[in-house]
């Protein structure tokens, strides 16, 4: 269920004799590697115990005591919707762009320019989310507000674009765009590294057979890099799901609405960031329980990604 084995099959192929006479260096090294893994498990167990014990009162509490007065589920589902909507918008916008930039850097741009570009893209991953938040309010929101009005006027029959559009532009769509800009460098950086690792021989073989550049990319670069691309997307999605400050600052939060271009909705992470400092008692537990839900969502998404990658692992370089 969880994840199928990722071990390169070569280890099964290795001569049995090697294992019988393990060298001390090998033993120490593999012990250290395993110990590192176990440390992670211990830390996570600690976090899990902490999280569950803090979240438990929210699940046990009488439904009237939870904010909204209708129990934890009705409190959390609009937040789940908001979280997924923002992350999905970010992914839909960022993935094609990021792959485009990664391809541009690895296969289209002149060598010197591409190094420089890779550098700039890595840099962008480092800008603190507060800055993205400020940028989102001051630059992006006013600039895209017109587009949302247009959407409301022309595509208003779709529930997602139902008017009236927000007067300040600080909507779910804007927040999604800010998130997209934030995760762009992450997906780009990982995909770029993977594309650059494509065996030169594969590429040259494809070109030698008369493939155009795009056919070469489609036949050798993309299949080779697919697990890495998905890994990069997942890292980006992780950040998009968990991002707090940027969403909290850009979005004009409010109750649930289908419309993504009017003010309203909120994400789990932003709700935690906004309400946690002044909260006390059961509200704190409720917020941590919401954190637990976010945890489960990320987990589900990651499992899905692992499953996709494992189905495709025949292309992995370690094979």
């Amino acid at each position: 269920m969880t994840t199928t084995t990722n071990t390169p099959p070569d280890q099964e192929r290795r001569p049995r004799g090697q294992r019988s006479s393990v060298r001390p260096g090998d033993r120490n090294f593999s012990f250290a590697a395993r110990a590192a893994g176990v440390i992670i498990l211990i830390v996570l167990a600690g976090v899990a115990v902490f999280l569950v014990s803090e979240a438990l009162p929210a699940f046990q509490a009488d439904s009237s005591e939870i904010e909204g007065g209708e129990g934890f589920l009705s409190y959390v589902w609009p937040l789940v919707f908001g979280t997924l909507a923002a992350a999905l918008i970010a992914l839909i916008v960022a993935t094609p762009l990021a792959l485009g930039i990664a391809l541009f850097i690895s296969h289209y741009a002149p060598r010197r320019m591409s190094q420089w570009l890779g550098y700039v893209v890595d840099l962008l991953a480092a800008i603190p989310s507060v800055v993205y938040g400020l940028w989102g309010i001051q630059w992006l929101a006013p600039n895209v507000q017109g587009a949302w009005v247009w959407l409301a006027d022309n595509l208003g029959f779709i529930p997602f674009f139902e008017g009236p559009a927000s007067a300040t532009g600080r909507t779910m769509m804007t927040a999604g765009l800010v998130l997209a800009v934030m995760i762009l460098p992450i997906i780009t950086a990982v995909s770029r590294e993977v594309f650059l690792q494509t065996p030169k021989l594969h590429e040259e073989a494809a070109l030698a057979l008369g493939a155009t550049r795009w056919e070469m990319i489609r036949m050798s670069v993309i299949p080779f890099g697919r697990p890495g691309i998905i890994g990069g997307i997942m890292l980006g999605l992780g950040r998009a799901l968990g991002e707090t400050m940027a969403v909290a600052m850009v979005l004009s939060t409010g109750g649930f609405t289908w419309s993504l271009i009017s003010s309203g909705n909120n994400t789990i992470a932003a709700e935690i960031a906004l309400d946690f400092p002044e909260s006390s008692g059961l509200k704190t537990n409720t917020l941590i329980a919401a954190g637990l839900v976010l945890f489960v969502i990320t987990l589900g998404v990651n499992m899905l990604a692992r499953w996709v990658v494992s189905r495709r692992k025949e292309f992995s370089g370690a094979n």
């Binding site: 300040t168 600080r170 909290a248 600052m249 409010g254 609405t257 960031a273 002044e278 909260s279 704190t284």
Partner: protein, 399 residues
Amino acid sequence: MKLSIARRKLAPVAVVGAAALVLGACGSDPDDGSDNSDDGDTTSEEEGSDDGDDTAEEDDTEAAGDDGEEMAGDLSGSLNGAGASSQEAAVQAWIAGFQSQYPDVTVNYAPEGSGAGREQFTSGAVPFAGTDAALDEEEMSAAEAECGAPAVNLPLYIDPIAVPYNLPGVDSLQLGPDTLAGIFNEEITEWNDPAIAEDNPDAELPDTQITPVHRSDESGTTENFVEYLAAASPDVWTHEVSGDWPSDLSGEAGAQTPGVLQAVDAAEGTIGYTSAAAAGDRTTAAIGVGDEFVEYSAEAAAAVVENSPLVEGRADNDLALELARDTTESGNYPIVLVSYTVVCTAYADEATGNLVKEFASYVASDEGQQAAADAAGSAPISPEMQTQVQTVLDSIEVG
């Protein structure tokens, strides 16, 4: 051979590292001339206080504690507090003033929020806390268990909450409690509504849509504003009083004070509520009190606090206030946020106790209140309140 390549290529790394070390050695505290007699060399003292974290050893602070204010320079060590972010700017001013009096002292304040502040105070993690709401009974007993003596809430920070609006052409606006509640309740949706016109007989009101702006984060400002609406206009404002804006009201929302102001500035027809100090030169509404309309001012805010009774059923020296939101007294501005400084009435640790006592005394003093008023725009507490606070502080047992 391989090593030498590595060494050559890593040379720039070493250069960057060396630059970092140089930077590490040359930082200092700013020399702000005016009120800081001690300058330049505070870095070394800083580091000194880091090593001597265990300041409980210093005996001479005990004697100093008795003769009150006449002990400049004798205190040292560090004092940590946590709590409300609403009073952060004021606390920074107090810390600066206090540290200039006692250059060997470092006071830190983590603006994590009232809830976090109360929780850490009651669990003994910090010796003092700032909070927008006084400790409730449960927290009082938890704090008493931790301190070994009852805790007290001291109202040392008064911040009027202004109602800025963005309506070009309307330079002064008067709003009665019911009108204000109706606007934020989204029942009054246009600026030329008869209710607003009745409050403003002289103004020319446009038919612009009203966009009420609220805080998206949970905050003491929201809680105090909503508390006022519920007390002054109970028929119109029927929502529950909490630090979270009612979720069934839509409207625009902004994170923290700058977020609200940003939203108010961004579009015409908006109206919000923020700490008065931050409202700057934006147009703000005068609030209906009794038969007159009162603009916010430090005096008007301090007046309503002075006229408010203490919460009943508390310990004698506790100064938690029951704010008179529905006051009809002339010259009182009823929308205020009062933020408390919570301290124990006994400290087992001498050094900490003396620091808390001196720091709180400084905060309550004319000098401290004026420093906060200058820097953060808060309203100084009244002389009567100062006396009360000082009496409580003098009763703190140290050691």
